[in-house]
Every structure is written in structure tokens, then in C-alpha cells.
């Protein structure tokens, strides 16, 4: 009695898989394979993830200026640097991410108000520059998201780590704001990814894992077993991310 090899085995044509929500570097509370670039790339290869958008752990758990500086050392082209931004005079300074198409905000970790004047200045700059913003659902309230998306209707926001308990709050936000997206990292309820894709369109759902803090294997397997048309699955797996990154239609 044997079982399929651990490498993901797609049932249809091979998907281009882009993880929009990943961290490179050591964590303060665990030992993880992605503590360095080699370890992360091996994990991606094992799970057949083609590209990962990575913030550095020093930027998330330390001062973002230090962590963002480490992104310049990334050598592997499969890793797309995602700077972590902080607004205000004590922040990261460059409010458009230095040309990166995707940035990450952690107002809870870095101690700034998600909807304060500095934040609204930052989101105005991001909106003008066409930069997409990753925002962790656990770092804000639904009212914060409503205000940010409402005041910057052209700003593309990807809510990460939404969990499976917030479906009712999320639907209100996604019904209201067309450029609001969700990632799959903890969208873990029964058939929730299908539900979101069918209600809002697959173009608003992006594959993201939140690894190594949250699991990568489960969401990766989900991609291969989604009960959606192949085109929708390909959008979720990577095409949406490539579009936001400027690498595809």
C-alpha cells in the first residue's frame, strides 16, 4: 500500500503558482527551513511553488528599515522582494516601496495607527503609484479596512490571514470595495475558497500561505483539488499575483 509522492501532483495542466504571502528569514519563536534563502527555495521546490513574494523576517519582527535592506541580498529570481512600510517621520521613508509592486504593512507590530493621518498619506502614495498592499486581517479592524478602501478606491489591497471565522464581515467589505482581494493562507473553512471565487470572481482571490508562520502544504494541496473551472484555478494559483506584480495580463 503506497501513497502519492509528497510533491504536489496536479490533475490538470501544470499551474503557475505564486505565493503572495511569505516570509524569508529566521523567526523569533521557531526554527524554520526558510531561515535562509537556500532553505526557502528548497521548500518552494518541494511544494512546486514557482515564485514567492517575500518580506524579510527582520522587517516584520524587527525594524522594517533593517529588514528591507536585506531584501537587496536576495539572489534567486523566484523570490520577489516585498518591503514592509511604516509611514510618518519615524517610518521607512520611502512610501512607495522603492519601486516594488507589492508592499506589506504591519501597523500592529510596528506601532502606528492603521487609519491615522500618516497611514492615509501612505495609502494615497501607494494608490497613486499603483502599488498593491498586503494587509494582515489580524492587524486591523473591519472598520479600518472599510475606511482605507473607501478613501482610496483605486488602491489594491490584499487582505491576508483572514481566517475562516470572518466570512460575514469579509463579505460586507468585498461587496463594498471592488479592489479588495483576499489570500488563501488561512481561508480554511469548508469550500470557502470556492465560495469567495464564485461570489466575487476568482480574480479577487490569490494563493498565499503566510508560511512559515502558517501552513503552506495545506493551501498548496487545495490548489490541486479546487472545485472550480481551470481558468479560475489558474487565476488564484498565480495569474492574479502576476497581474498585480506587473508580470502578466
Amino acid at each position: 500500500m503506497t501513497i502519492a509522492a509528497p510533491a504536489a501532483a496536479p490533475v490538470g495542466p501544470a499551474l503557475t503558482v505564486v505565493d503572495v504571502n511569505r516570509i524569508l528569514g529566521p523567526l523569533p519563536n521557531d526554527d524554520v527551513p526558510s531561515r535562509d534563502e537556500d532553505g526557502l527555495v528548497k521548500e518552494l521546490e518541494r511544494l512546486r511553488i514557482d515564485t514567492a513574494c517575500v518580506a524579510h523576517s527582520h522587517a516584520v519582527y524587527g525594524d522594517p528599515r533593517d529588514g528591507n535592506a536585506r531584501l537587496g541580498r536576495i539572489a534567486d529570481e523566484r523570490l520577489r522582494p516585498v518591503p514592509v512600510l511604516v509611514p510618518g517621520p519615524l517610518g521607512t521613508g520611502d512610501w512607495t516601496g522603492g519601486g516594488a509592486p507589492l508592499v506589506r504593512l504591519c501597523p500592529d507590530r510596528h506601532g502606528w495607527a492603521a487609519t491615522g493621518p500618516y497611514a492615509l498619506g501612505l495609502t494615497a502614495a501607494l494608490s497613486l503609484a499603483g502599488v498593491t498592499m498586503l494587509l494582515d486581517w489580524g492587524a486591523v479592524t473591519a472598520a479600518d479596512v472599510d475606511l482605507l478602501a473607501g478613501t482610496r478606491p483605486r488602491l489594491r489591497i490584499v487582505l491576508t490571514g483572514t481566517g475562516y471565522r470572518g466570512l460575514r464581515e469579509l463579505t460586507e467589505l468585498l461587496d463594498t470595495h471592488e479592489l479588495l482581494h483576499v489570500d488563501t493562507s488561512t481561508l480554511a473553512g469548508h469550500r470557502q475558497v470556492e465560495w469567495f471565487a464564485q461570489r466575487y470572481g476568482a480574480h479577487r482571490v490569490l494563493f498565499g500561505t503566510g508560511a512559515p508562520v502558517s501552513d503552506d502544504a495545506g493551501p498548496r494541496h487545495l490548489l490541486d483539488t479546487l472545485d472550480l473551472p481551470a481558468h479560475d484555478t489558474s487565476l488564484i494559483a498565480g495569474a492574479n499575483a502576476l497581474r498585480l506584480l506587473g508580470g502578466g495580463a
Binding site: 475558497v193 465560495w195 508560511a211
Partner: protein, 266 residues
Amino acid sequence: MTPLAPAAGVRAPGGLRVIDAHGHLGRWGAFAIPDGSAAGLVAMMDRCGVATACVSHLLAVGPDARAGNALLLKALAAHPGRLLGYAVHNPHDPEAAPRLRELLAVPGVIGVKLHPEVHELALDDPAYTPAFEAAADHGRVVLAHSEHDSRWADAPRFVTVASRHPGVPLLMGHSGLFPQGYGPAAEAAVRCPSLVLETCGSRMTARHLTRLVAEVGADRIAFGSDAVFLDLRIGLGRVLLADLAENDREQVLHGTMAALLSRATG
């Protein structure tokens, strides 16, 4: 196929008969479950190659054990072999003990589900003793929700009841639920031979699972998904894609729970 036996026909890629040790039917109050039907769960099992799911009804876990257990029996009758059942024991129900004994005699009911967190009564409270005694008398298993740092369901309470009822296989649902709880869960399993760790939970990762297998052995770990609370495919993928030896993966996905069910079928 006996009513207690796992289904034989449905297999995962590679031929394994996957058994899900921890599932549910129904809906939950705190958030929306778009489809909590038994037919929907079985369709999902077909989609990803899970032969059998051992489930309790969420109505029984939540407000009404009597009504929820009745719905469970209907689902088991509608999907024999594909769904096996845990009868929920609410320790606050004065008729819980005799009702549980009746439920455990029904074909397809393979064990007892305890949820100290919902019932707000610690797992080692004597009010659960009739449930363990009924499980022992019927040769059934007990699945209990665990939660690290909980006053109702933390690892030390599992050690207490496992030591008190060593003949009853005790599944530790979620293995502590939070990453900080996996270590204490493993320690409890090492101390108590009747304790089996179960893998579901939104905080579990393939990395944590691999560590648990290394610490306690695959024969002490059973795959669970928490469907329809959570998506079956995510819990399954965590085991399928974990960096495990193939024999360990097979043990987690099938062997551990098959052994418990074999015991339950006598």
C-alpha cells in the same frame, strides 16, 4: 462491509484508504459554514480520496446534544461506511449517560465526542466518568477537544483522564490546538499509552506535524481535518505534503485510526 468498518472503495492517489478521525456535520453559530450537509462532506471526500470520516454533529457539540445526535444517526444511515459517528456527551444533561449507552449500540457509532471548552467543564471532572465507562464497556474510542492553556481542556487534564481510564483509547483533538501546545501534547502522549494525537486545526503546519511524528511516533498520531468546520483538503494536504517517510504518512492517514476502529468493531 460491516456498518462500523471504513469504506473500502474510495482511495487516495496511490491507493490508500484515508480515514479522517475528526470531522463534523452541520453549522456553527460563531461564523458561516456555507454547506454543512452530509452529502456535501461525502462529495468532498470523493473529490480528494478520503474513504471514511468519523464525525459528530455540530448541533450536538453546541446547543443540543440530543437533537444533534439524532441528526448524526440519520446521516450515518444515509452514508454507511463513508461516515462513522461520535455521539456527543453533554455532561450537564441528566439523561446523558443512559442516552450515550443507547447511541453507542447503534451501528456506525464508533465513539464519544467530548468538548470541555463548549460545555465549560474540565475534562477531568467526574461528570465525564460515565462517558468513559460507556466507551470502555462498548469498546469504543473517546475524542475530546484539546486546547493549550485552557482551564477545561489542556494537556495535563488528558494525562489525568487517560491514567484514570487506561483501557479507553483517547484521541486528543487538535493536539493542543496552538503551536505552544504541541510540545505538551507530545509529552502527554509519551506518558500515556492510550492517548492518540489528532492533527486538525488552523494553526497546525506540516512542519509541526513532522515534529510530532518524530517525538511520539506515527502510530500515535491520526489524521483529522475538522471538516466541515475546516476544509478537508487543507488538513489532508498538510499530511500528504509533509516531509515524512512514506510508511509514517500511511500510518497517520490510515493505520492509526484503522487500528482504533478495528478495536471498536471487536
